[in-house]
Symmetry: none
Subunit: 188 residues, 4 copies
DNA sequence: CTATAAACGAGACGGTACGTCGGGTCTTCTG
DNA sequence: CAGAAGACCCGACGTACCGTCTCGTTTATAG
């Protein structure tokens, strides 16, 4: 189905090299210093090759961080809601502990603010699958008609608190607080 | 006590005018367009007057948003933990609904990332008072020895979910989800 | 011979456009108002394109005025020293009457002061050809062994007095004084 | 006659200190680096004290260099025009050999260009006395009706060539050329 | 086996924000 | 009131980054 376009095909290695370079630079020097030129240099690539693939720096970094993260989420097969919450917290807390994710957050937030339709797309791709799963589980556990809303709210709590605990706390206290989070979240 | 410095004293009105101008611009045109020149023009002030007071754009905006927000929070006198959580959610959800706060978040996160000691200072000034209050209330309600940790975790859940619900959801769904949040957070 | 450099070549039209814009602005609004931004705007060019070519405003203006002026002087074929002096005065008085040359003089003097090797290069390129010609003519007219020095001194007198008459006098008086200058300069 | 003004009288020492500081800075660091703040610091004086006395940096430096130079010129009592020219050259060549005078020239030229009435005032104060003297001497030596114009032209030649020989030549060649100048200038 | 079309590295381009600095004016307090 | 200190406005300077555009070269498919 993918029609064979004429001309030289794109080098698929460039995509990976650029995304990896972006992640490394984010972790090492932060958002500000992660320049398009710097990404291109580290990837051994020219700037136009980047702009042929992503329309802006924001989108490149977005994909670098989040396509990396939306890989095997696999919280799917939790037996009950408690277990589901536990596993989701574990995954999300790990995610926001990654230095490149933390470094990418400023740019991500700016993009969310300027580009509202990114909100829904992010929410849909990242949150929706797990939310549906949790909603069904809750209904099986006797939740009322608003099980879907509760599932969304639960996801909001998990994501938000994971972010905040990584941004504002550190050291042993962060670990201790993080360990208490799942017990407090109780949608039933 | 404050020694009399020689020379013309700084005009204190400039501080307020600049901070107000920064807040207005953040709400109106967003982080990118909130230029130092634009702040100076709206405040009726020269650029050097801004750089005499704040070493960079980030620091100016940080103070503009957060010195404004660390006002009297006054959730203090809640009769029980349920009520405390309800009121805290109301306050925090309102806070992150403000457009200038949303617009300032990218800069805030960048500052948190580059300047780790800002973490503790922000957590202490913004979260600590309410957390202590909640901790005592919980202990009075029969919580165990880890009431203090649970209070911190509860605050993390409130702040984080308020931020996420404002950033990722919108419209009626946001309101509905926000309304379910307090019921799910249950530290006892 | 000129090695092929990689990358997009510099647009040669920008050089000319910038130098022309600089000359026009000098003539119209003077040295102070001849801003780099103004030059860029008039040339239809960005500021970085200027700084890629010249390291500072002074150097740009220097080249704008003096590469323009070191064109074919062609006073060469004067039959005797009197005629040579007459023609040189005519040329030099015209030169310093040009508004962009007058406007550029401050920058030129500053450059001469800060960058001494510019002295000799300017003297060599601008003065030397005519001086040699005059020296030979003088020797043919019976001048002594110091004809070369006298030729240099004559050139100094012509350049200097042309500059001063344009800077310090004006109106009819300037014209009358300028007309008497060649008669007074008499190297024989 | 000089009315007694009320209030504290101006400290006369400040004038000299400021002018001396300006001359020193011009000679040491050039026109660009000779800042009003720098002059004030070296003179042990505040900036407003400078602006109380001179309306601009240009005028301050102008006075610093030229009131210093318009001291006893004393070419007056030359017996004939040849001697007058000789002495004037000696004086003017010395003047333009001074480093602070050379450093001040850029600013002076800029001021002449922007402020045309400065031309006549400078010409009148600095050139006129000697020119009148030379004009009378020439008339006594049998010059025609245009002795006044020739006197002006002679002065233009002396000033201009002295400036150029100092700006464009250096070392032994400068001295040799300068020595030949008076012989070539011959108004009769 | 050549022609074409597109991708590639390098880097110039317009635009614009940043942070610094100098000139000239003003406002405080001290003598 | 003069004077020192220094804040103030204005605006130019030079740097950096973004996203686009031309170069000349390379490479895969089409004919």
């Amino acid at each position: 189905m993918t029609e064979k376009l004429p001309g030289r095909p794109r080098d698929p290695g460039i995509d990976d090299a650029a995304l990896a370079a972006a992640r490394e630079l984010l972790a090492e020097v932060g958002w500000e210093q992660t320049t398009m030129v710097a990404i291109a240099e580290r990837a051994g690539v020219g700037k136009p090759a980047l702009y042929r693939r992503w329309p802006s720096k924001t989108q490149l970094i977005f994909e670098a961080v989040f396509n990396w993260m939306t890989e095997p989420v696999a919280v799917a097969d939790a037996p009950d809601s408690t277990e589901w919450i536990q596993r989701s917290f574990a995954y999300t807390l790990d995610l926001f502990a990654r230095p490149e994710v933390q470094a990418a957050l400023p740019g991500l937030l700016a993009a969310l603010h300027d580009n509202p339709d990114l909100q829904s797309s992010l929410w849909r791709e990242f949150g929706a699958p797990g939310i549906d799963m949790l909603g069904e589980t809750l209904q099986g556990e006797g939740a009322g008609s608003e099980a879907a809303l509760d599932a969304q709210a639960t996801m909001v709590l998990i994501i938000g608190s994971s972010m905040i605990v990584r941004l504002l706390l550190s050291g042993e206290n962060a670990a201790a607080v993080a360990a208490r989070l799942p017990r407090i979240v109780n949608p039933l």
